[in-house]
Symmetry: C2
Subunit: 418 residues, 2 copies
């Protein structure tokens, strides 16, 4: 039995076992990984009553801890949500295998034939907060890409994540894959997170999914490489050449479809020439939809914006709105206050749209489309482990293909270098 | 004038200027970047006497400091070496532009058209040691990929690097690009390196090129993401089905063509069935070529190998040699002692070669080819900034294309998410 009173030794042991499992996973067949994920989906459905009972313990703990209604809603599992976990596992299971793909191949005058082939990354550490479905999504995506994974869920979802994890292990066993390929940290102690961030010998990359507290901890302490997931300070620039009908529907959807996701719009930038007309119409529409609009000079909103409103991620029914002189002023505002996640332009002028695309370096740029499309599923990836805002390795929605690396396989016929 | 007595302020200023330059570089045209590199090549040739005179100061400093003859040779510039710097700048200048390429594009049922487009990484910090030509190579590759770069050369090459850097700035000016796009740290103080490793606000990635001391410093102190460049503990496994003629030529070339490069073979693993015949012939051939062979049981070499010889990077005319039972034993040895750089198998049995390829995760795996081909030029990349041994982002030879990131450009026609 593992001694969880010694967190450091516990985590080292988990790391070593993950590394050993990843070595055998790297040569697991596509069929084995698919079998494991389909069997895990079956196990989740078969054990749905146990999962929901485990979730009830978490809900009780969360209520005692005084979690907000929004947090409790994220935590809650019912039959419909368990069904969506099952669907997610099946969807990832059915995807094309991302490992072993020949990404490029060419011949050299020296006689060498060079192939660049996708490989697993190794061991991935996923640190997340309350949503228990992440246990299934992250475990499935990492396995699909041939990686060992160490999951560290939020303390609130401790029992739910444990019950879901048991089903993932059932799936691994059904496919004759090592149970250590998907491990869940069996303690709520936060020291385990700090340990994970230092485990350069056994973890190849950390994927943090959470709020500012987690992001700050990761930035201060991580020695292991990280797929940065910063805030989604999402801007929409409404150009003077915007189509008013499209603008009304895209702005409404970007802000109000779901306000708590990272792709929700947080700031509306409006070209001066249309501020009094379409601009004010957009502000009025948002207020009518129950959104608090913190408006800059020249717009009348619910409240007057202050300097603190630029660069705010509200994740709520609140939006900042500001008049800008032109597309370059919008670009400058976004460069100053954005987080490089997702930003959008609404215009019928393709030259202006191309300019906006060329001058901004956000992971996702949208033209005449809702920012709420910033999602792995909407990009055709089937599922995602998060939206990466860093520029290293993965960027934007992180699906199984982004959880791979590559190697060069070189064949000669006795070739020597001159 | 910059106050170089305050290294921290100096480096912050360099970082801020690099970040500002990179913002304008991101939209530099392919023609501008090409013009800059061709003009830099012209400047290096025109100022070759000044560069060689600056190098004489470095050689004098190096001799006083007691550098080894091998180190002094790496440092030395003559007309032929200046010519090769010129050739390198022209070669990178003439390459296809790696920025703005559509890496993938697809349509979604929602009506979105999604493009994945290559972009610059941002600002790259390159920390290197004595070879002054790295100043030109690294500066050119980073510029080609649209990145700002902060170059921190070795203290021994201080004057040579400064003279070459001045030519790169001439090139930037000729193309109307910001001079701050390629900066050279103007102090030998090692505190500048520690500063660079912490500059997460302004540097996107650090590329360290150097020996164990530098690698250790980077591993301890870096907060900025790093393209790991570990040692090249390069193995060659000679299978029982190896062709003797190919084996003799490939092993000789892998060890002796140049012993000081990271792709030089450091350990020979020989299948037990051919150890007494071909295996001993290989050992004898190497000894005849002046190589010290540290041989394991069953082989007679120059010396008996000790446990310390497994996993050694000699970078010299020394090689370890060991008998293994079969390909799996070779794989196990390489997994234990290798550094994931380059490893090779010599065999006529393609099934065994595929097994070796499937079970090892080195950045480069070779079949019947010299390990000395582990080089960006030999891979068709024109030049390289180093060989990355990590699995994040770049891997193997790092050319201009590996110094890019990507973003998603999404177009709709007023699309909203259901």
């Amino acid at each position: 039995m593992t001694d969880i009173s010694n967190i450091s030794a516990l985590m080292q042991d988990i790391g070593n076992r993950a590394k050993a499992a990843s070595a055998s996973l790297a040569s697991a067949t596509a069929a084995q990984k698919q079998t494991a994920l389909f069997a895990a989906a079956d196990a989740v459905w078969a054990k749905r009553d146990q999962i929901i009972a485990a979730n009830a313990l978490d809900m009780e703990y969360g209520q005692k801890k005084g979690l907000s209604p929004a947090m409790l809603d994220r935590l809650m599992l019912d039959t419909a949500r368990v069904q969506s976990i099952v669907d997610g596992l099946r969807a990832v299971g059915g995807q094309a295998d991302p490992v072993g793909a020949v990404l490029a191949e060419w011949d050299m005058p020296s006689g060498l034939h060079i192939r660049r082939v996708s490989t697993p990354l190794g061991v991935i550490g996923v640190i997340y907060e309350s949503r228990p479905n992440v246990t299934a999504d992250a475990g499935a995506l990492c396995l699909k890409a041939g990686n060992g994974v160490i999951l560290r869920g939020g303390s609130e979802s401790f029992h739910s994540s444990g019950a879901i994890h048991a089903c993932l292990v059932d799936g691994l066993r059904a496919a004759d894959l090592p149970a250590d390929a998907i491990q869940l940290v069996p303690t709520r102690d936060r020291v385990a997170v700090s340990e994970m961030l230092q485990m350069t010998e056994s973890i190849d990359v950390i994927v943090p999914r959470g709020g500012k507290g987690l992001v700050g901890l990761v930035q201060r302490e991580a020695r292991v490489p990280v797929f940065a997931h910063l805030e989604g300070i999402v801007h929409i620039y409404v150009d003077k050449a915007a189509d008013p009908v499209k603008a009304m529907q895209v702005v409404l959807n970007s802000k109000t479809r779901r306000t708590g996701i990272c792709g929700a719009a947080e700031c509306l930038l409006i070209h001066r020439d249309i501020a009094a007309g379409l601009g004010q119409d957009l502000v009025n529409m948002l207020m009518n939809a129950g959104v608090e609009v913190r408006a800059g000079d020249g717009l009348s909103g619910t409240l007057a914006a202050t300097d603190d409103d630029w660069g705010q991620e509200y994740l709520d029914a609140i939006i900042a709105a500001r008049i800008v002189d032109d597309v370059d002023a919008a670009i400058s505002h976004i460069r100053t206050y954005g987080s490089g996640h997702t930003d959008a332009i609404l215009t019928e002028d393709n030259v202006t749209a191309e300019h906006f695309f060329a001058r901004l370096d956000s992971a996702i740029l949208m033209h005449n489309a809702s920012t709420q499309f910033a999602d792995g599923g909407e990009f055709g990836m089937g599922a995602e482990i998060g939206i990466a805002t860093g520029k290293m390795h993965a960027r934007g929605p992180v699906g199984a293909a982004q959880l791979t690396s590559f190697q060069y396989l070189v064949s000669g016929n006795g070739a020597t270098r001159a």
